[in-house]
Symmetry: C2
């Protein structure tokens, strides 16, 4: 039974102060909030707290010591770290859903617009005080193909439509999806990629998606097409991509995810011409997104309602 006078929330996060401020502003009843920016700082109050707000990697360290734990709200979508054999499963674990679409869309369109406008080339020319810069291209009427048409893929398609692009989608079933002009299934993958100016993958890591983008798919792309991978590293055969970039079979690649992360310092992709590398930062979670999920779930918690986005420890999601 929950004693409403004594809910103690431990916030364990590098953004703990921000989270504490956002949650305090909500004026939630019977809640004492303690922020901690490191596991070491959290340890002293871990056994007095019945609620934890934390990313799974930090939570993993402190969960065994939280003797009064009733509920943990994760600040990340991926909670695999907390599902292992060795992990306790005697508490409510809630995850994160529905906040990544607009965030990933900002990443994708940052790099699509930069590519279209040749922004990096212009910056190099500025260093030479050169007024004569290349003609910029436009997104309008360009074709974007999106592999994976869940909520994130559809959010990307919605931004594409805002910029008057034509949207193609790819999924196992090939069934129609919102904001997508034309859908393709795996049988049609080569004709799908063959027409695109931009190919964006937001596919999850499964056996089906392993090296889905291989040499044949890259060869079928237009020579000025840009590949953007913001899903998972397994989708892309990185050696095939390096060959395709070196032989200029595609126009470029923007990669936020890799088969091995961090991308090893010796990896050739770092310096392959046409490759832009970012360090798995296309869909970070922000306190502004997660705090409202926590606040809503806390209200349900004190009202003894079922929490939203509850993880089933057996199914793993």
């Amino acid at each position: 039974m929950i004693d409403q006078q004594k809910n103690r929330l431990l916030i364990l996060s590098s953004n703990a102060t921000k989270y504490a401020k956002l949650i305090a502003e909500a004026g939630l009843p019977a809640l004492k909030i303690t922020p901690a920016v490191s596991v070491a700082k959290a340890m002293s109050i871990a056994d007095q707290s019945n609620i934890l707000l934390a990313p799974p990697d930090l939570a993993y360290e402190i969960l065994p010591t939280m003797t009064k734990l009733q509920w943990m709200q994760s600040t990340w979508a991926g909670v695999n770290k907390l599902l292992g054999e060795e992990c306790r499963k005697d508490y409510l674990l809630t995850g994160v859903k529905g906040v990544f679409g607009s965030i990933m869309s900002e990443y994708v369109f940052c790099y699509i617009l930069m590519h279209a406008r040749k922004a990096f080339q212009c910056l190099e020319l500025q260093k030479d005080r050169e007024w004569k810069m290349p003609m910029p291209g436009l997104l309008r009427c360009k074709k974007i193909g999106i592999m994976g048409v869940g909520s994130i893929g559809i959010a990307i398609a919605r931004t594409a439509k805002h910029f008057n692009m034509t949207t193609y989608g790819y999924s196992t079933s090939g069934t129609p999806a919102p904001e997508i002009d034309q859908m393709f299934n795996p049988d049609k993958i080569l004709s799908f990629v063959g027409e695109l100016d931009y190919l964006v993958t937001v596919l999850p890591q499964t056996l089906d998606t392993n090296h889905l983008i291989n040499r044949a798919v890259l060869k079928a792309m237009k020579t000025d097409a840009l590949l953007i991978n913001v899903g998972r590293g397994n989708v892309l055969d990185e050696n095939a991509l390096i060959e395709a970039l070196i032989s200029e079979e595609i126009g470029g690649a923007v990669l936020d995810v890799f088969q091995q992360e961090p991308l090893p310092q010796s990896h050739p992709l770092w310096s392959t011409k046409g490759a832009i590398i970012t360090s798995h930062k296309s869909a970070l979670t922000y306190p502004e997104d997660i705090a409202p999920l926590f606040i809503n779930n806390y209200k349900r918690f004190v009202a003894r309602k079922e929490l939203q986005f509850k993880i089933d420890f057996d199914r793993g999601y």
Copy 2:
């Protein structure tokens, strides 16, 4: 009187081939199309053509020789070059309207997203094979202020709204405008700029807009705010901007227009820290935009209807 069997269109443009293809595809009646990529190439048929499609600067060279000219469709918005005392005015001149909003919006959001995501810094870190990259920011909930809320300003605001930004507008009257959350007039300019993360000016060149963005306005801005000028160079006191950038009173500036263009090689802005220079390319016209205007006007021309976007030589617009 127009002889419908003998309309001869001279297309004088560096994009003449593209224009010819787009117009030919429309299957217009009784039209012979001749593309020319230079004035020299156009000269031989100039006196046989009754219609001209050209930018004003090239048209200026060839207009005196076009003895059969009835109508010229400009490929640019600004037709000042054709309004001088020395210019003939015995033909129909039609201009360009309503195509720049989405084009300028792509420029503005390319640089806003790059700034938010620190894309240039990430590229420099990639050269060092450095996985540790800065936390990207988001547009969502950021405040953008737009000076000039005509069709271009509103198109920029519409994209801002797509990215869930808060939109402020500035105009002489301060009267409400579509897609703008809050309007400001000149009395409130300092409080207008004081709250902004992004200040975008699309103001035209008039006496009222001369050095509107001066030292006091720049001082009132937030220290991490980004200024973007895609209107006219006269709006900005460039010396004041250089001082503001050097003393880090604002976060950066993206400039597409200048008091003198081309920006002189010796100008300090080229290498002022935080200044990004592009060469008046935020709103180029594209054949895909202009060809439909021409096609529509040609249909009106053969039907003897009044043409759209006709320039009044006396008023100058």
